[in-house]
Symmetry: C2
Subunit: 212 residues, 2 copies
């Protein structure tokens, strides 16, 4: 996907979902074309950076015209891997696990939650939006019988690594981790750590900073 198989920096990748958000808004508002200048004003970036970013993946624009919103959005979806669907399971049916299962927004982007797992007998057998909560003991069995692409870890932090190990040992190649530890995964497996509290602490840092 990258322009000539060359390396694309972390910073650029992290901006791609943001471009996607803004382009989706533009498309919904019926805007057909957009220049890097206009997009830069909306997004609070420089026009130069936007052009540079898109050019990491190939030239999607046209001189004198700008970028076609729908085309560009489609390209970014391809880049982000949003041109396919993903089967997802959630391990840990506590607060976050349940909230994610209840949220219907990810389905629109192609992420389908197929099951939840927990060790709490009170939760096992229940379902959320018709998604069953299974005993964590049956995790390996389930993974063998169902093609799952992504696993969410929303367990307490002291169980997260153990769960990650079981997931990767059974073929999971993508982990979205909400536990407050960085999980280690073998080469070839992708782990995205969320760390909500890091974000809260950054906020409190800035509040503190703004006071002196």
């Amino acid at each position: 996907m990258a322009k000539n198989g060359s390396y694309v920096s972390e910073a650029v990748i992290r901006r791609m979902p943001k471009y996607y958000r803004y382009l989706e808004d533009l498309e919904k508002s019926g805007v057909e074309r957009v220049s890097s200048k206009e997009l830069s004003q909306r997004m609070g970036l420089t026009a130069s950076q936007i052009r540079q970013d898109f050019n990491c993946f190939g030239g999607f624009g046209q001189q004198g015209y700008g970028y076609n919103v729908s085309d560009l959005k489609r390209e970014i979806m391809k880049i982000l891997g949003l041109d396919r669907t993903y089967n997802v399971i959630i391990v840990g049916a506590g607060n976050i696990g349940q909230a994610l299962a209840n949220y219907t927004g990810f389905e629109k982007e192609g992420f389908f939650i197929k099951a939840l797992f927990d060790i709490n007998p009170k939760l096992i057998g229940m379902s959320i939006r018709d998604i069953m909560i299974y005993d964590l003991d049956s995790l390996e069995d389930f993974l063998e019988k169902n093609p799952i692409d992504i696993a969410v870890i929303s367990t307490p932090k002291d169980k997260a690594q153990e769960v990650a190990d079981r997931l990767t040992a059974n073929g999971i190649r993508g982990i979205w981790n909400f536990a407050a530890v960085d999980v280690a995964v073998p080469r070839g497996v992708i782990a995205e750590n969320v760390h909500l509290s890091d974000s809260l602490f950054t906020l409190s840092f800035r509040i503190r900073e703004s006071l002196d």
Copy 2:
């Protein structure tokens, strides 16, 4: 707090909560001292970067010895503004709002949730862990009578900016935003945008990338 009032870069700030996490783990394991080298191996950073980071805020270490874990942790807590408490409200008592209200972990760090607000009549009057859900109409009234430091926005995205405006108009200086838009705030107000889906899309980008 910064070494001599000088600017500390975004990149350094974003690493601080991570240091805090690792230092807390070390302290809990009874480790008394740690060198930048050992910490670097645990955290997957370079020792040089760790020393450089800490020196943005003043020298907390000692040559030949390293860093005292408890002292360093305490310093980082001060830097992050975790040496005080914060009163928090949550606007939007849907999936994420409820999950955050149910989660007890933030209290340990000094963040106390005082109220939730929603427009759904079925939710208004209920409570979560003894935290009342109020009518959003009473937001201004509540903010006048209670000293609130931080507001969480967990509304649908089309309501987020309007809520942010009402919050900042009534004295809120810190916003933790979970809605899928970047909220704009006036100077002097800090907004931390979470964007869970950005994180999920980064994961799908990497999965896609790993396939070719």
